[in-house]
Amino acid sequence: MDDKQIIDLYFARNEQAIAETEQKYGRFCWRIAMNVLDVWEDAEECVSDTWLSTWGQIPPTVPQSLKAFLGRIVRNLSISRFRSMRAKKRYNGMEVLLSELGDCVPSSANVEQTVEAKELSGYISEWLDSLPAEDCALFVRRYWFGDAVQDLAERCGITGPQMAQRMLRLRKSLRAALNQKGVAL
């Protein structure tokens, strides 16, 4: 079933929509949650909550890309879980991702504006557009899909440390781009 038909089922309030979404995108959502949280039970719960949240948001929302829409919900639910449970549990995937993202945070020396996530995403999208296709794909696969550095290294046919170095350069490049815009978080 294609995405348009699945979205039509949501609009018709047909519960088959959830089953179809789960069948088509269950593995995709689970992979993101697992990459980010690294705890099986919590990833399962996030994916279940994703179906509920999607049911609540469509309608009225009409997603342009159902896949990206679901991915965002999983990511948001994953970080919510991380925020609420961080005192009790250690989520390795998220800890590593956040520590790496610390390299992208612009310095506060040259501040012109303090931005929110929505505005920040505009700047990040602009920066991603300026990158070569492979660098753009690598950054998104690491920090949006949460793919492991070693997996990406194997996909590119290079070693893990070389990939880690490449990621470091990308993060520094993003920080430089945000600094240039005078953006602060």
Partner: protein
């Protein structure tokens, strides 16, 4: 937290970028792609059978011979005057050894015959791990000293211990020694903790990788495990 805001910012990036990244075919995938379902599988290099047999035979000889060499060197060490009591087969100092002052690493343990060979020394340069071949004694400390010099690390960083464990068992029954070979080798490398002060200057991951490749590569053994201990 700023990192979390960055995470949220990345979550909201444009959908077309996400879709492009999802379908992007990396060069390694194209080379390694196999099978009708488009599943990617890493191409595996197949060695001829004789190479495998030769490697296993060489390892067996090394394992069987090592206790005899050890006993012989110990005996020679105890008979010869002015020996270096703290030096093991691999030339590493044990904690508590007397300081002998600065000396050329290549001159250590002159009273024992230590094989010398070409050794690959790995080092970090321009953001990547490079390697250079040097002829030197096959002693852990000598190899470590060269690695340290190649990476611009000061002499305050010391190799404290280099222990190779295997499941080999040597038993003495009367005048005869019986040896059961072990195949699973593990290297336990203990280095002084001040190595951490170079993590800023050199990339930590690359630096530790170069150390691992250097120290596990010089002996010709294949290690199942490698443990770095900073003390």
């Amino acid at each position: 937290m700023k990192e979390e805001l960055m995470y949220d910012g990345i979550t909201e990036i444009r959908e077309d970028i996400i879709e492009r990244a999802e379908v992007y075919a990396f060069p390694g995938e194209a080379e390694n792609a196999e099978g009708p379902k488009g599943l990617t599988k890493k191409a595996r290099k197949v060695h001829p059978v004789w190479v495998t047999i030769a490697v296993v035979a060489a390892c067996l000889v090394l394992v069987v011979a090592s206790p005899f060499v050890y006993i012989a060197t110990r005996r020679a060490g105890s008979e010869a005057p002015a020996t270096n009591p703290g030096q093991s087969l691999h030339g590493n100092k044990r904690p508590g050894d007397a300081e002998t002052g600065k000396e050329n690493p290549g001159d250590k343990a002159p009273e024992t015959s230590v094989a010398s060979a070409d050794v690959w020394i790995y080092f970090v340069q321009d953001g990547e791990v490079c390697k250079e071949r040097y002829r030197m004694n096959l002693q852990a400390e000598v190899v470590f000293d060269r690695w340290r010099a190649e990476n611009g690390i000061g002499e305050e960083v010391q190799l404290l211990e280099c222990e190779i464990r295997s499941k080999a068992i040597t038993e003495q029954q009367g005048k005869v020694g019986f040896h059961t070979s072990g195949y699973d080798f593990s290297m336990y490398l203990t280095v002084s903790k001040n190595l951490e002060s170079y993590y800023e200057q050199k990339d930590e991951v690359l630096l530790l990788d170069s150390l691992k490749q250097t120290m596990t590569g010089y002996s010709g053994l294949t290690y199942q495990e490698y443990h770095l201990i900073l003390e």
